[in-house]
């Protein structure tokens, strides 16, 4: 069932724009090249595109969220490693682009 949304960490995003090519059904670019993302739940048949866009963001700025608000971080053995790579929280990678 559909219970995922896609969100962008707008601080981490530097506007590569790859997501809009990989998931055009859900993501378009604004006047400055930054992604505008639909807020609706992603239909299951499109979820594979959403995951593809998240995985290919060079800035690791896209996140898949479940409806309950949990972030869609990978589970299992590599989970802890991935969490360390993804800056989040008050100290996390909040740097201005450029």
């Amino acid at each position: 069932m559909a219970n995922h949304t896609i969100v962008v960490d707008s601080i981490a995003c530097v506007g590569h724009g790859i997501c809009a090519d990989l998931f055009p059904e859900w993501i378009r670019l604004d006047s400055w090249g930054y992604p505008i993302i639909k807020k609706e739940l992603i239909p299951p048949e499109l979820l594979v595109h959403a995951r593809w866009a998240v995985a290919n963001c060079p800035a690791l700025a896209l996140h898949l969220r479940t409806q309950q608000g949990e972030s869609g971080k990978p589970k299992g053995a590599v989970g802890h490693l991935f969490r360390r790579l993804v800056p989040s929280g008050p100290q996390g990678g909040a740097k201005p682009p450029g």
């Binding site: 960490d9 707008s10 601080i11 981490a12 995003c13 530097v14 506007g15 604004d30 006047s31 400055w32 090249g33 930054y34 505008i36 608000g69 989040s88 929280g89 008050p90 100290q91 996390g92 909040a94 740097k95 201005p96 682009p97």
Partner: protein
């Protein structure tokens, strides 16, 4: 104007906070403060639900602008893992606000007691208060007040005063937490919000300093007393900073729900017929003069006008002033205050400010004005914080309130007010973030 220390105390309703202020400009000493207020309980690891219940019963809402129920916030933070941290927000980055600096520089012990009570309520083992480092009067009074305590009644928990960078978004709660965590005073991506993971990764209560002062009074006088002023949903009094086209810029105190015209009257009334008011400050909304003066000073009362009291800011501009020129200058400030972290804010606000300036100078083409509308739609809701949304809201309210001027400027004609001196002083932020 907002930096002037010379503000007198008017009577726009029951003065509760301001009633304690010395008219000679000195701050209230610990001895005098203790003659009215009992020593707050020592903060412990366990939250004090009795205090939280009391604040919930009082119906107090945050006075920093968002108006979130304080009791609910205390409850949420108290349910996080111990130990927790209390952060007082005295940054007051809103250029048209002066109430927090007045409170901190004249009644520092009221604020400090409020922070200690909040710490006891949520079970915090540390307190930090952020104050704009250029705000030397408030910094000095708060520091001296803490030193006075150290001598007479040692503080039960470490209490730090932080001189924050003089930037607007440093006062956004994640920006303030980021700065206290030794980062730049820039907002961070949320969630996690500070109540989940804030200073040092601990659940953190961030409260405006006026809110803390109200907590001290509520604990002393009770929730029923607090509810004697204000409305059922928004009880109590609030400080208001009145400036612009008024006889004298001032900080007033009014029961929530008081007509805005009465609050303006406490600032000596208008200096000329009021054309429009900027309610809520730079991060607020334009409202036509008559409607604004008649409206109640409350969230519920201003909501039908698409406005909010914000941090209690009212700026009046005269009938013959050019609201679009004022708006264009404010938008330039918004662009300059962008932390530059989010693309739509960094580039979008710069474009928005340029577009508004060209409209104010009546040099826009039809396409330029269409661009303004497109950019406003694209920018809204796209920042990590609400800073870009504030710029969009301001521009949209200008388009409604100054609709006639907008049409005229769009046709390439300026109005007489466009070449007049600005009513609203706009600061130029320095490139400092640490």
């Amino acid at each position: 104007m907002a930096g002037d220390g010379d503000r007198t105390v008017p009577a726009a309703g029951p003065a509760r906070l301001l009633a304690e202020i010395h008219s000679d400009g000195t701050w209230v000493s610990l001895a005098e403060h203790r003659s009215r207020y009992a020593l707050p309980p020592r903060p412990r690891r366990e939250p004090q639900s009795r205090l939280i219940d009391l604040i919930e019963e009082s119906g107090l809402r945050g006075r920093g602008g968002a108006g979130f129920p304080t009791g609910r916030k205390l409850r949420t933070v108290s349910q996080g893992r111990a130990p927790r941290i209390v952060v007082g927000n005295g940054t007051e980055g809103e250029p048209a606000s002066a109430k927090d600096r007045l409170l901190m520089s004249r009644l520092p012990h009221l604020v400090i007691d409020g922070a200690l009570l909040a710490a006891a309520a949520v079970g915090a083992d540390r307190i930090a208060v952020g104050i704009d480092r250029n705000n030397t009067e408030a910094m000095a009074a708060m520091r001296e007040a803490l030193a006075e305590r150290a001598a007479q009644e040692p503080l039960p928990v470490p209490f730090r005063i932080g001189g924050t960078p003089p930037r607007y978004v440093t006062g956004e709660e994640t920006g303030l937490v980021h700065w206290f965590n030794n980062g730049p005073g820039m907002p961070t991506f949320a969630p996690p919000r500070p109540f989940e993971r804030g200073v040092a990764g601990r659940p953190t209560l961030v409260q405006n300093v006026e809110t803390l002062a109200h907590i001290t009074q509520i604990v002393h006088n009770g929730a029923d007393w607090f509810r004697e002023a204000g409305t059922a949903d928004e009880p109590g009094t609030a400080l208001a900073t009145v400036s612009g086209c008024v006889a004298r810029a001032t900080v007033a105190e009014a029961a929530i729900g008081t007509p805005i015209g009465h609050v303006v009257a406490s600032a000596g009334g208008s200096a000329a017929p009021i054309g429009a008011m900027l309610l809520g400050g730079f991060f607020g909304t334009w409202v036509a003069g008559d409607a604004a003066l008649a409206a109640p000073f409350s969230r519920a009362g201003l909501s039908p006008l698409g406005a909010s009291p914000g941090a209690g800011i009212m700026v009046a501009i005269a009938e013959d002033a050019c609201g679009l020129s004022e708006t264009a200058r404010l938008l330039a400030w918004f662009a300059a205050e962008s932390a530059g972290q989010c693309g739509p804010c960094l580039y979008g606000l710069a474009d928005l400010a340029r577009g508004a300036a060209s409209l104010a100078q009546a040099t826009s083409s039809v396409g330029d004005i269409a661009d303004l509308q497109l950019w406003a739609d694209e920018i809204e809701g796209r920042g990590a914080c609400k800073h870009p949304d504030g710029a969009v809201r301001l521009l949209r309210s200008a388009a409604v309130v100054f609709a006639e001027d907008w049409e005229r400027h769009a046709r390439g004609e300026t109005c007489p007010g466009s070449s007049a001196a600005p009513t609203i002083p706009v600061p130029v932020p320095p490139p400092i973030w640490r």
